[in-house]
Symmetry: C2
Subunit: 372 residues, 2 copies
């Protein structure tokens, strides 16, 4: 695939504008929290993008309003009487199919929650697992999924310590759904927050974009494409520890799952009020994933990852951060993909290869339903 072809694949998201035009239009592009416009739940509400944020704000934040939910993170930081900080996170997994190249719902269920805790700066320790299973689901398949979870838990150095099992009639859970929650402790002194992000900070990504989403789409067999893409599903807690040891001033971490790097960068921009300028040429995508994305008409910047970390690091620690990530098996392809700027306000822009700049909004709609 040529660079031109790649470029076309990526330009579907927003108009191409020149940087000075962007600056003039800051007010126009200033992000507001999206609003809920629908009367019924749609697939887009589960996609992790704009509609998901709107649903969470309008329904759940409205009902449960508290400081932790208002931080709009994938987990809560909870103060224990001893002065320790506990991280607590949950995710449901409804991936279809249950098994795909590189993993299964079992791996995802562990990795998803481990990774949410890890990017909060926590050391994931204990996992709960709740199963909603269809009547008629083969016990052997359930054993295999439990074995995948056990394998993933071992690799991530966490324990599945409690659980629940519910059974629903055939057809009412598409096989099975798994919900995990996890807790871990945040070592004293670690503080990862949008408040610490400064103009000039660098944005790092630990590897290629979109492998998980593309792998699951391909595994469904609907696309009529030969070839295999492997999901990147993996526990990033080891990678995060390596990064935070090498670059202790690291400001902010996130795992770009549903909604991809594009949506996570928008969350960063909204949380900080600053601009995130990404360099298109440096955004890592494998040729296979790029090919699938072109066929689907999706920018890989919005496609889910399940074993990647997006990090905002201090300029002076960039080299150390990059070196530490590249030394880790999960960060070999780590790159600087952009930087933080105060020349844009709460906006994500991509500098294209030919000098233009385009705005990257949050993911709208759900081009890839049920990929996690």
């Amino acid at each position: 695939m040529s660079v031109d072809e790649k470029r076309r694949g990526r330009e579907r998201t927003g108009p191409v504008v020149r940087e000075e035009q962007v600056l003039e239009k800051i007010e126009a592009f200033r992000r507001r929290r999206p609003r809920l416009l629908e009367d019924v739940v749609t697939m887009a509400h589960g996609a992790g993008g704009k509609a998901s944020a709107a649903l969470v704000d309008a329904v759940f934040l409205e009902a449960f309003r508290n400081k932790e939910l208002e931080r709009r993170c994938d987990g809560a930081v909870l103060p224990l009487p001893s002065g320790e900080s506990l991280a607590f996170s949950t995710d449901s997994f409804v991936v279809h199919p249950l098994r795909f190249p590189g993993g299964s719902i079992g791996h995802l269920a562990i990795h998803g929650t481990v990774n949410d805790l890890a990017v909060m700066g926590a050391r994931p320790a204990w996992i709960s697992a709740a199963f909603v299973i269809e009547e008629g689901f083969p016990i052997e398949q359930l054993r295999a999924i439990a074995a995948d979870m056990a394998e993933a838990a071992k690799a991530a150095d966490v324990e599945v310590v409690t659980g629940d099992t519910k059974v629903v009639s055939a057809g009412a859970a598409d096989g099975l759904y798994i919900t995990t929650a996890g807790v871990g402790l945040i070592p004293p002194g670690r503080e990862l927050s949008g408040d610490r992000v400064r103009p000039g900070d660098r944005v790092l990504l630990s590897g290629t974009m979109g492998d998980h989403g593309a792998a699951v789409m391909l595994a469904r067999g609907d696309l009529g494409i030969e070839g295999e893409i492997k999901s990147d599903t993996a526990p990033v807690n080891g990678l995060v520890e390596a990064l935070l040891t090498a670059a202790p001033s690291t400001r902010w971490l996130r795992d770009p799952t549903r909604g991809g790097v594009g949506t996570v960068c928008n969350e960063l921009a909204m949380e900080t009020g600053l601009g995130v300028v990404l360099d298109e040429a440096s955004l890592p995508v494998s040729p296979q994933v790029n090919g699938v994305c072109e066929l689907l008409g999706i920018d890989p910047i919005y496609v889910a990852n399940e074993g990647k970390v997006l990090a905002v690091v201090a300029p002076e620690e960039t080299d150390a951060a990059l070196a530490a990530m590249r030394e880790h098996p999960l960060g070999r392809d780590a790159v600087v993909i952009g930087e933080i700027t105060d020349r844009l306000s709460a906006t994500v822009a991509v500098r294209t290869a030919f000098g233009g700049t385009r705005i990257v909004d949050m993911l709208v709609g759900d081009p890839l339903p049920r990929i996690c």
Copy 2:
């Protein structure tokens, strides 16, 4: 309903035998952990009884084997570096219908997890909530359920601090499923465990049996019965605190949800290796619940509760425990329902009104699917 009618309703479970015969047959009745015999998941695997225990043992315990899971509780007790003990529990809720007299899936989702933590001796503090929602589910209904959760959380003095939302296609979640997890701290010195149970200890129940299960069955409208039974769904953490203050030697607590008092007493018998002898005349059941159970051919001893506590207390603290429970709005009907004996081994028996004794096994099958 006459006493004779009641008696008949309760005698479906086991053969009527004389106490001396029971003693002779200890070996025959000695409980073993049930074994998984099926190739596919059945509704019984979700009923909280014998099949559920077999599935958990054969699949999940086998895969994740660790000390916490082997305790076979509804939650884990986790040691923090500070010396504090954290309680951690999870439950999925798939109740049908979503709303029933006395509550909704929203109330259940909070109460279920709060109560699991409370009977571990913990003070529930933080809740996670993960939603699997069908495409097309009305936003207004979702708001109402979130409002129920918020109301329940406020009443239980817990906060919903983190969550997740997934959307599946219409029909693939029967409206919606909610999975909550919860964490709380166990005050130092509290130790509730089967190891502390002694012959002569009293078994207390905080109120009538089976209200929740009967309410949900009636709400489905399949039975053609007029009249309304209200679910007892409620957070028992306040009741447990009152009990543990009045009776600090309390040995063991459980909330008799799926599988009811009968199943929970079997868990107690298996955990302690001792006998649990219940007094039929003292088992509290409302006439309405008894009527529904007769129609369904189910012993109310197996019907789910969602706001009750079963407690094993020291003989000398029985009066104090009973008084404290009865002073609490959720424990007004608290009674002593039986006692612990070493004349039986890992067995639950009921002394009938006319001097016989029958064995109460764990719930077998699933007469009331999807009641939580």
